[in-house]
Amino acid sequence: MAISADTIEESRDLINKAGYSFTFLSDPKAETIRRYDLVHAGAGENGRDIARPAEFLLDSSGTVRWVNLTENYWVRARPEQILEAAKLLD
């Protein structure tokens, strides 16, 4: 699932446009983002707090099995990296 500081409406527009089928959650006040220490303060539109890019693979107990905190926001985890990491869940 994907989490951002976008509003529900913005997320809905995105999934309609891109055709994503997984869950998109909205955290406009960046509360969950803050609890995960992923706030990029003032980096959004009009100086809003947004999330820095981050990917976590959790097992069924909610424990992190793999994490990717990019150092460059253009560069995200590649699908094959995540598929490789998903083998850890077997």
């Binding site: 699932m1 981050a54 959790l58 992190v64 150092e71 460059n72 253009w74």
Partner: protein, 150 residues
């Protein structure tokens, strides 16, 4: 009369620098091989420089008018600034990210949360992990935090 022809090289150089800049966020960023290191854009930038140099040489040949020299210098300066901006945005500004030292690490349990989905229904992490997908309880879940406003 010596009719000077249009100095097209300087303008091709300019257009290439604009292309080098804009083609990264709009096109090359979609493919990991041109995204993780923007070699395609740097190549376009190098081509831009080459045309700019040829254009400047042409503009500064003794037979050309002062106006042509000034315009060429301006266009060359703007092109170089565009490429400098590209390097700044992709190599410097893109790394201005918080350290996130307290973010959950491998082996740690992540904090529970509840947030609304795109239909306005509040979903919790524990619910999501326990919800069967195609009749089977999932082995795990991928949490993707993203910047938003696309």
């Amino acid at each position: 009369m010596n009719v000077k022809r249009f100095n097209w090289q300087i303008w091709v150089g300019f257009l290439l620098s604009v292309l080098a800049f804009l083609s990264y966020p709009t096109f090359f960023v979609r493919f990991p091989v041109t995204r993780d290191f923007p070699w395609a854009n740097l190549l376009l930038g190098a081509m831009s420089f080459a045309f700019i140099l040829i254009g400047l040489r042409r503009a500064f040949s003794p037979s050309r008018r002062l106006f042509s020299k000034i315009v060429s210098l301006l266009v060359a300066t703007v092109s170089v600034l565009i490429m400098a901006m590209f390097v700044f945005v992709v190599f410097v500004q893109a790394r201005w990210l918080p350290a996130s030292k307290a973010a959950p690490q491998v082996g740690q349990k992540v904090p529970e949360f509840s947030l609304p989905d795109t239909r306005g229904q509040v979903v919790s992490l524990s619910e999501l992990i326990a919800t069967p997908v195609n009749g089977k309880v999932p082995k795990g879940v991928l949490l993707i935090f993203y910047r938003g406003y696309w």
